[in-house]
């Protein structure tokens, strides 16, 4: 019987299986990509840190005083200590690399994986390259490589390889003395890797090390390091995974509508079976097994397709799917059979859940009635159920106010799911509520009356057709509203933080840069009306958090809003305190409020800074502090700056001004300088923004496509089932044209109801995304914008698509002989 049904309606079965398959494929692909990226990342950390038992890491990239190295080396229980200069470097061709300056004699005992293979010497030019670095630089032993880091360029000769460095990391190992000398870092270290004695108490040694550390250094264990990298992209990953689950959920709804219809149509068959002695339980089992078969097929195809998709995505976008989180490492696919099974099960569960409800309904109907009346069993007098829908909506509402769990908005997603399910359950009642008044206004044309009455009388049927599309439209709308709000807020923010015309910066630079003399020359270059010098430092404030940033900016204490996009009230500065301004993510991550003090290592000392206000920042998800230029100089004496904002004099030509600025910069750093006009900087930022949401859009579009296909399939099924009704209408004198018009109107009405429901549900879900999910995942807020264009076109597309499919399937139904259709019945 199942096979017969499937053979009769292959398209519907294929569609339901495809929906499940797509959901499973997307979910599994996102999972695989993330896992591969994280594994690569974890391996990369292993590689860069070698096999040290413990690392002491500098809080800022400027490093700590090298005098810490002998202190650590002489702590009892420390068997070996390896000092490291760690730099981000790049080549003229733009390849970026990690440069490690090592004392090979020390590293051999602590991180042997970082000791190069090849002729060894203390020749200042010797560099050992990992395989990835060799490939990136297309270098081989003996070839020269020019590396630029910390504002200095130096030429090295490839002396050998780093076979222990793994495949995915672009690492260059040079001698520590050369690293200090040639990159201007004399006296500074970024890291000391430590190895403990075999019989020492790790805790006691760690305690002794902690006591010895200056404020600009901290202990980092392997575990913390990998937690940090996990934190880097966790929220982004979870969000993508949730989107994939949405696709799967849409698939579940499609199975539901498909099964509902086929069950409804087979009511007489089932009734006959019941009469012939089939038990209720066997009947449920029968229908559920049909759903399971669909789910299983979809799941298997989905896991296979997901693997392929992940491979493709890794090749095209890299491990972060365009999110920009993992740089340098190109991951290989890490296949996960266990997880594949889990996703297969998820697909199965979605299909089973979709099939269970129709199965229960079919089993509940009385065989005697069903056998006689082949109709779909609708009683227009019955009120659609409300209680379940309202309960679900209330649960959803309550969950929206719950706090994050483990830094993730899991309950926020729960809230969205509950509201979505509640909204769909509310559909029949909603359809009546909308159509009731509309019916009275619609006028008396027979086709119109028929269309309205049909939908009013059988809202449950309409809901079946619509649940898939309502789910996908509401999620699309929610996502659209969120992205529009986000993009709009980012655009405003960019306008606020990029007021100047021209920006120039030295890359990867924390130490060195433009000294006061160079700054003075730049300020007096022709074409420059106003100029500001800035600097950004990395701050490692908590060992298991990615580093935060310290922005050194000229801030007018009486008008801070001119330098920073403030979103809080400004707290007055008590006497004797130094002001600092926390970015919104900073405030959330480190629980800072205006009027609180925060201790930050600056110039090798802990400094108490007073938070005066919170500013909006979308650039650094892991927090940033802004400090006034004069305060920073006062605390550190550091007058070097690496970023410059230039306002052009009226009528000045940007290109000429750039040339004039170039001319006054010291020649050794001029090659490193990048100039960007404010306009293109803004365009670039928005381009990155759009790219990082591209995958999101793609997932959404797929969900919508599945939803629309579901509408088409359901409509054609319902229309075919109504052949007798049309025959009857023809007999009582309705013209074919009138019936088509009726169907078109019915479709349009259905589409309109679905779109309205979907869009209003989407507005609610969008607010949850904006107010709950985003602040909890990324620690930033945004102002709501309504993408009216997108919402209206969604509405239009849906109404048109519903009407179109209704007419198409209607004409097919009408083409069959009217007489025969009627005769069948009496």
């Amino acid at each position: 019987m199942v096979l017969g049904e499937w053979r009769a309606h292959p398209a519907r079965v294929i569609l339901a299986a495809a929906a499940i398959a797509i959901g499973v494929a997307l979910g599994f692909a996102v999972y695989l990509v993330n896992r591969s990226a994280l594994e690569t990342f974890a391996k990369a950390i292993d590689t860069v840190s070698g096999t040290a038992d413990l690392q002491v890491h500098s809080v800022t990239a400027a490093g700590f005083d090298e005098g810490l190295y002998p202190t650590l080396a002489q702590i009892p229980g420390v068997a070996a200590a390896s000092p490291v200069v760690e730099l981000n470097a790049h080549t003229a061709a733009g390849a970026s690399l990690t440069v490690l300056g090592l004392d090979v004699l020390r590293a051999a005992a602590v991180t042997p994986g970082l000791v190069g293979q090849g002729a060894h010497s203390f020749d200042a030019q010797a560099a050992y390259l990992s395989q990835t670095a060799m490939t990136a630089l297309s270098a081989k032993a003996g070839s020269p490589v020019t590396l630029t880091a910390a504002g200095h360029s130096a030429v090295f000769t490839v002396a050998g390889s780093l076979p222990g460095a793994g495949e995915d990391q672009a690492i260059v190992v040079i001698d520590i003395a050369d690293a200090q000398w040639r990159f201007g870092l004399l006296g500074r270290l970024q890291r000391v890797d430590l190895k403990f004695g075999a019989d020492t108490s790790t805790q006691a040694v760690q305690a002794a090390i902690t006591r010895a550390l200056p404020p600009d250094a901290q202990i980092v264990t392997q575990r913390q390091e990998s937690h940090r990298s996990d934190a880097l992209s966790r929220a982004y990953r979870v969000n993508l995974e949730m989107l994939a689950m949405v696709a799967l959920m849409t698939g579940g709804f499609l199975v539901y509508s498909g099964q509902s219809l086929s069950v409804a149509r087979r009511r007489p068959q089932f009734a006959l079976l019941r009469v012939l002695g089939l038990s209720q339980r066997r009947l449920i089992l029968q229908i559920v097994i049909e759903g399971a078969a669909v789910g299983l097929a979809g799941g298997i195809i989905g896991v296979a397709a997901g693997t392929g998709l992940a491979t493709l995505a890794l090749a095209l976008f890299g491990g972060d799917l365009g999110g920009g989180y993992f740089q340098g490492a190109r991951p290989h696919l890490a296949f996960a059979p266990g997880a594949g099974l889990v996703f297969l099960l998820l697909g199965l569960i979605a299909a089973l859940a979709g099939a269970l409800w129709p199965a229960l309904q079919a089993a509940r109907s009385r065989p005697a009635v069903a056998l006689k009346n082949a109709d779909l069993g609708i009683d227009p007098r019955r009120k659609p159920p409300l209680v379940a829908a309202l309960v679900l909506l209330m649960i959803g509402g309550a969950l929206a106010f719950a706090p994050p769990i483990g830094g993730l908005p899991l309950l926020g997603y729960g809230s969205m799911a509950a509201i979505l399910a509640g909204g769909i359950a509310l559909m029949p009642a909603l359809a009546r509520a909308i159509l009731g008044p509309a019916r009275r206004l619609a006028g008396d044309a027979p086709a119109t009356r028929l269309a309205f009455d049909r939908l009013y009388g059988a809202p449950g049927q309409a809901a079946v057709a619509l649940c898939g599309i309502v789910a996908s439209v509401s999620l699309m709308a929610a996502m659209g509203i969120m992205v529009a709000s986000f993009r709009g807020s980012v655009d405003d923010w960019l306008g606020q933080i990029l007021p100047a015309d021209l920006y120039m910066r030295l890359p990867d630079l924390e130490a060195g840069g433009f000294d006061p003399a160079a700054q003075d020359r730049l300020a007096h270059a022709p074409g420059v009306a106003a100029i500001e010098f800035r600097k950004v430092l990395k701050l490692r404030l908590a060992p298991d958090q990615p580093p935060a940033a310290l922005n050194v900016v000229p801030i007018d204490p009486t008008a801070p809003q001119r330098a920073l996009p403030l979103i809080s009230a400004v707290s007055p500065l008590p006497a004797g305190e130094t002001a600092v301004w926390a970015s919104e993510p900073m405030a959330r991550l480190y629980h800072l409020n205006p009027g609180q003090a925060v201790t930050v290592p600056l110039g090798g000392q802990p400094r108490r800074l007073y938070v005066r206000g919170i500013w909006r920042d979308y650039a650094r998800q892991f927090g940033a502090l802004a400090i006034g230029d004069t305060d920073y100089v006062h605390l550190t004496g550091d007058r070097f700056r690496s970023q410059v904002a230039v306002t052009l004099a009226p009528g000045a030509d940007p290109l000429r001004t750039v040339a004039a600025l170039r001319a006054v910069v010291p020649p050794d750093i001029v090659a490193d300088m990048t100039f960007t006009e404010s306009k293109s900087l803004r365009a670039m930022a928005l381009k990155i923004f759009d790219r990082s949401f591209a995958v999101t859009y793609a997932l959404e579009a797929i969900a919508i496509g599945i939803g629309l296909a579901g509408v088409a399939a359901t409509f054609s099924a319902q229309t075919l089932a109504r052949t007798r009704e049309f025959g009857m209408l023809r007999h009582v004198g309705a013209l074919k044209r009138q019936i088509v018009a009726m169907l078109a109107l019915e479709g349009a009405l259905l589409g309109a109801v679905g779109a309205l429901a979907g869009l209003s549900l989407g507005a609610v879900l969008g607010q949850i995304l904006i107010q709950v999910i985003n602040p909890q995942s990324f620690n930033w807020s945004m102002d709501t914008r309504w993408p009216m264009g997108l919402l209206l076109s969604l509405f239009g597309v849906l109404v048109a698509a519903s009407a179109g499919t209704a007419v198409l399937s209607g004409s097919r139904a009408l083409s069959s002989s009217t007489i025969r259709a009627v005769r069948e019945d009496w």
Partner: protein, 354 residues
């Protein structure tokens, strides 16, 4: 003359570009001044403080030991002001010969000079590499501290005799070219007291040791593959040192040595005053190298040839330092008629590259 594991050091020091620093050359007629010359001579390419000796434990067991510090000047750019400048590399090696164990226990340390973690004083013997140390105290007594994974040496070495200047007042030739030479002096008959830890157990030891001091910038003739060296503390208070630089065929390229009587009468041995005979070879089961571990050394002083038969404390005193980039050689405690000392055999497992 002693020098092992130098291959590693010299390989480290080998200039990859033609920027070799001007190493100070060894010249004859340079008077050694103490305690200054107990300290490091950082202008020269290579230098060592080489202590070997025999010990008796409190329960009467014989042990041999060796503690050596090497200093090597590399090709690193002296203009680099970084405190990590690898201009001077220090390396230390220690081995314990225990007949009850039947092979050498050994350990080593290597580090670039700096930060107080590795240091060689230029004013007196004061060497530090991490927890290892060789220091000459104000009373002239050297203290040596060294440890491997399974042993630890903590020894005081008290000089009983004057410094013995090898060669021509400390200028010791090693080959036909006068530049193939080193500055070389020895302190034989050092009275040893202290302790040895083996298997976690500390035992008090006494004994007699020998300190060799040598520094140079170029040493071996290109045709040389290795050398044989012996230093003996004779029971009557006398001292014998003899060496032979060998070529591929095992023939001597250069010979040298010195013999000093208990009363201090010194005879310097020339190229033709030393002869090495073979008595018994031992084949290493690990490297298949055949070492003449038991042999006769003959020296001519005052027109008379005198012979000593050297017998190893035990055969397997081979040291394989290839894992650390060093050579394979044999360095062992030996006994002879009326004396004890150390024998060193290099270049038997393959030519020694310096």
């Amino acid at each position: 003359m002693r020098a092992l594991l130098l291959a590693l050091l010299l390989a480290l020091a080998a200039p990859a570009v033609a920027l070799a620093p001007a190493y100070a050359p060894v010249r004859p007629g340079v008077a050694l001044i103490f305690p200054m010359d107990h300290g490091a001579h950082s202008a020269f390419r290579t230098e060592w403080w080489y202590v070997t000796g025999l010990l008796k434990t409190a329960d009467g067991k014989d042990l041999g030991f060796q503690v050596t510090f090497f200093r090597s000047r590399t090709a690193a750019d002296p203009a680099n002001p970084s405190r990590f400048n690898p201009d001077q590399i220090l390396f230390a090696h220690a081995a314990l010969s225990d007949p009850a164990i039947g092979h050498l226990l050994h350990g080593q340390r290597i580090a670039r000079q700096g930060f107080g973690l590795a240091h060689a004083s230029t004013t007196d013997t004061d060497l530090v590499i991490d927890d290892w140390r060789l220091k000459r105290g104000a009373n002239g007594v050297f203290s040596a501290r060294a440890a491997g994974a399974d042993f630890r040496l903590d020894l005081d070495l008290a000089p009983q005799q004057n410094v013995l200047l090898q060669g021509d007042h400390g200028y010791s030739r090693k080959g036909p070219n006068p530049a193939q030479a080193s500055q070389y002096y020895s302190l034989p008959h050092l009275a040893v007291s202290g302790s040895v830890v083996r298997g976690g157990k500390r035992v008090a030891v006494t004994g007699e040791a020998w300190l060799d001091r040598e520094w140079f910038s170029s040493l071996l003739d290109p045709t040389a593959v290795g050398w044989d060296w012996v230093g003996l503390n004779l029971d009557d208070g006398g001292t014998l040192m003899a060496f032979m630089i060998r070529d591929k065929a095992g023939k001597p390229i250069w010979n040298g040595g010195a013999i000093r009587s208990a009363s201090g009468a010194l005879t310097t041995l020339g190229k033709d005053d030393v002869a090495w005979g073979r008595a018994r070879t031992w084949r290493s089961p690990r490297t298949q190298a055949a070492y003449p571990v038991e042999r006769v050394v003959s020296v001519r002083s005052g027109g008379q040839w005198r012979r000593w038969t050297l017998r190893p404390l035990f055969d397997d005193q081979e040291l394989d330092s290839r894992a650390a980039g060093g050579p394979v050689y044999w360095e062992g405690a030996v006994r002879t008629e009326g004396g004890r000392g150390y024998l060193e055999l290099t270049g038997y497992a393959g030519p020694l590259k310096l």
